[in-house]
């Protein structure tokens, strides 16, 4: 079937406002979901599930969170990892301190705590923008990691703040196998991605973009700027918080506050820059790219160019390639991989007659 919209007439606004208005896209997404939910758990090796796919999904969710704040609402943040930490440590404490706390509720509450902290650190955004706001979120990054390390109550008095996530049990079923963990994470991420898409195409999303693009006009139209910005901080931090909880419970198992340091925040920022600022799909593409690239480079260095690269270059190859790519995308394609994908589709739509 060719990639065409010919013959697909929209008889109603509802049809025109579907998430994927072109039938081939809809089919493609359903196929992708089927593969992710059915085929992957059947065939993927333990290494892929545990080492790569779960990590990819968790980072996608965090990138989605940052993208809501930075891509849609236009507020730059360098504190994503800290909000993940709040989610992880809050979920841990809810599980630890409340008897019979359901796992999913603990994740949701972890997200909510992150949202509250996000709102608090989002308050400066009402007065400052751009670079200065980024510095304020940087303060959040350092402060949160510091306090989680300093106050041992958060980690149940373990040394240096390490927490070990409790078993994941829902309705008596223990999510212990890599397949089970993967499916749980996938389900949560898929639902939250759908919700993000829904917000993006509704009036909350339009309000965020309006504030991002032209705040004076947004206010004159009747958008409450303060509410809109703080809501973006809350929702974004909620997403990061849940991602942090999943990072601790489904991926790492054991984690310390330092695991959520500035490096991780930058990594998430790079994901949205490479994947596409202001794009739901871009968050996934960026996360995939950043999770897979180091693996790909390792294979390249060890198996393809075995011994051909001097060790000094081989060990820094990752940093060099990342740096180069970030600069490339910032200069050449600020909308990232998602935009490149869209351009490819537009070309395909017209192919083979490009006029």
């Amino acid at each position: 079937m060719l990639y065409r919209e010919a013959g697909q007439f929209k008889a109603s606004y509802a049809a025109d406002q579907q998430i994927f208005p072109i039938r081939q896209d809809r089919v493609g997404v359903l196929l992708l979901l089927a593969v992710a939910f059915v085929v992957v758990p059947m065939f993927a090796s333990e290494y892929w599930l545990k080492g790569i796919l779960i990590q990819f999904l968790v980072f996608s969710l965090a990138a989605l969170g940052l993208n809501i704040l930075t891509g849609y609402a236009g507020q730059l943040s360098l504190g994503s990892a800290a909000f993940m930490a709040v989610g992880a440590f809050a979920s841990y404490n809810f599980m630890l301190r409340i008897d019979g706390m359901p796992l999913l509720l603990a994740f949701a509450l972890g997200g909510l705590m992150a949202a509250l902290v996000g709102i608090a650190f989002g308050l400066p955004s009402l007065r400052i923008k751009g670079f200065y706001l980024a510095v304020a979120t940087l303060a959040a990054q350092f402060f949160i990691v510091w306090i989680l390390t300093k106050v041992s109550w958060f980690s149940n008095d373990s040394s240096s703040g390490v927490i070990t996530a409790q078993d994941m049990v829902i309705f008596g079923y223990k999510f212990a196998s890599p397949q089970a963990k993967y499916l749980l994470v996938l389900a949560i991420v898929a639902i939250m991605a759908l919700m993000a898409k829904n917000m993006a195409r509704s009036s909350v999303g339009r309000a965020w973009m309006a504030v991002r693009d032209m705040d004076v006009a947004a206010e004159v139209i009747g958008i409450r700027i303060m509410y809109s910005k703080l809501l973006a901080f809350a929702v974004s931090s909620f997403y990061c918080g849940v991602a942090g909880a999943l990072y601790a419970y489904a991926y790492l198992g054991t984690v310390e506050p330092e695991g959520f340091n500035l490096d991780l925040s930058f990594k998430i920022l790079f994901m949205i820059i490479i994947g596409g600022v202001g794009s739901i799909m871009g968050s996934f593409l960026g996360a995939a790219f950043i999770v897979l690239l180091p693996i790909f480079l390792d294979v390249l260095v060890q198996d393809v160019f075995t011994g051909m690269l001097p060790p000094s270059i081989a060990s820094n190859l990752q940093l060099m390639v990342f740096g180069g790519l970030i600069i490339f995308f910032l200069i050449v394609e600020p909308h990232g991989l998602a935009r490149l994908w869209q351009i490819a589709k537009e070309k395909l739509r017209l192919w083979p007659f490009p006029h």
Binding site: Y13, A14, Q17, M195, A196, N198, M199, R201, S202, S203, V204, G205, R206, A207, M209, A210, R212, D213, M214, V216, A217, A218, E219, V220, I221, G222, I223, R224, L231, V235, G278
Partner: protein, 261 residues
């Protein structure tokens, strides 16, 4: 003019003074706007015209003066409150949301009418879904009215200047305002575009009864479409009346018409 009936005073400004530090943008200005009329504000560059509009919809807060809208005197009012009360506007320098499509830009115009919470919108369920469809219908009417159907899905940043101005008008109209403030809607347009814009403004006024406050430099246009004109110069009011009265006012001729505008 058509058969529309000009009504009572809907907006009354009394002794408005606005300063920015040492700069007196507006000094002791009083005038009123009647329901359903087209009221023009003219004056040379820097006269304080845009500041006047900004005072009306709450972007600027004058240090002195009284503003009465629909019989209610208002204290300090924020722009979004003005929007809630039915005041919409366009800007001298186009202020569209560049990253969004025409459709999304116009949809934002209806934001004060959308009641669903963000959680309902995240679930895209019930009220959120219903509202989205209802408002889309209204927005499509505005899009048809301004003849911009063909660019519905285009990001506004890619449109030529004249069309951007039209999209901005669409966004303002989508709110179904009772009062529309237009800051130089025809600046920088060619003759055909100006004619189109004039036609749209008159149609809005005629069909929807919208009260219009308009800033415009093109005297021909002003004399053609406005019912009454206020003339500002250096932040002071130097004339007020019908186009004919203003045209024959000595002070106005000296300050403004004489300078070759």
């Amino acid at each position: 003019m058509s058969g529309r009936q000009i009504g009572d005073v809907i907006l009354d400004l009394q002794h408005i003074s606005l300063r920015f530090g040492g700069v007196k943008a507006l000094t002791d200005i009083s005038f009123d706007v009647r329901e359903h009329e087209v009221r023009a504000i003219i004056g040379p560059n820097g006269a304080g015209k845009s500041s006047m509009l900004n005072v009306i919809n709450g972007v600027y807060h004058p240090q002195e003066g009284r503003i009465t809208f629909r019989g209610e005197e208002r204290r300090k009012m924020e722009p979004h409150m003005a929007a809630m009360q039915g005041i919409s506007r366009t800007f001298q320098n186009i202020a569209l949301f560049k990253g969004m499509t025409v459709l999304d830009n116009v949809m934002t115009g209806r934001i004060t009418k959308m009641k669903a919470t963000f959680i309902e919108q995240a679930l895209f369920f019930g009220r959120a879904h219903r509202e989205e469809m209802e408002h889309r219908k209204k927005v499509e009417e505005v899009i048809d009215f301004l003849e911009i159907q063909h660019i519905r899905k285009t990001p506004v940043g890619r449109l030529p200047y004249g069309l951007q101005k039209r999209v901005e008008l669409a966004r303002a109209l989508a709110a179904e305002p009772s009062m529309l403030l237009l800051d130089e809607p025809m600046a920088g347009m060619n003759v055909e575009e100006k004619q189109d814009m004039c036609r749209f403004i008159l149609d809005v006024n005629d069909q929807f009864g919208t009260t219009i406050v308009l800033i415009e430099h093109d005297m021909g246009v002003v004399m053609d479409i406005s019912d009454r004109v206020v003339v500002l110069d250096y932040g002071k009011k130097i004339g007020d009346g019908t186009p004919d009265e203003v045209r024959s006012n000595e002070e106005v001729i000296r300050a403004y018409l004489g300078t070759g505008h």
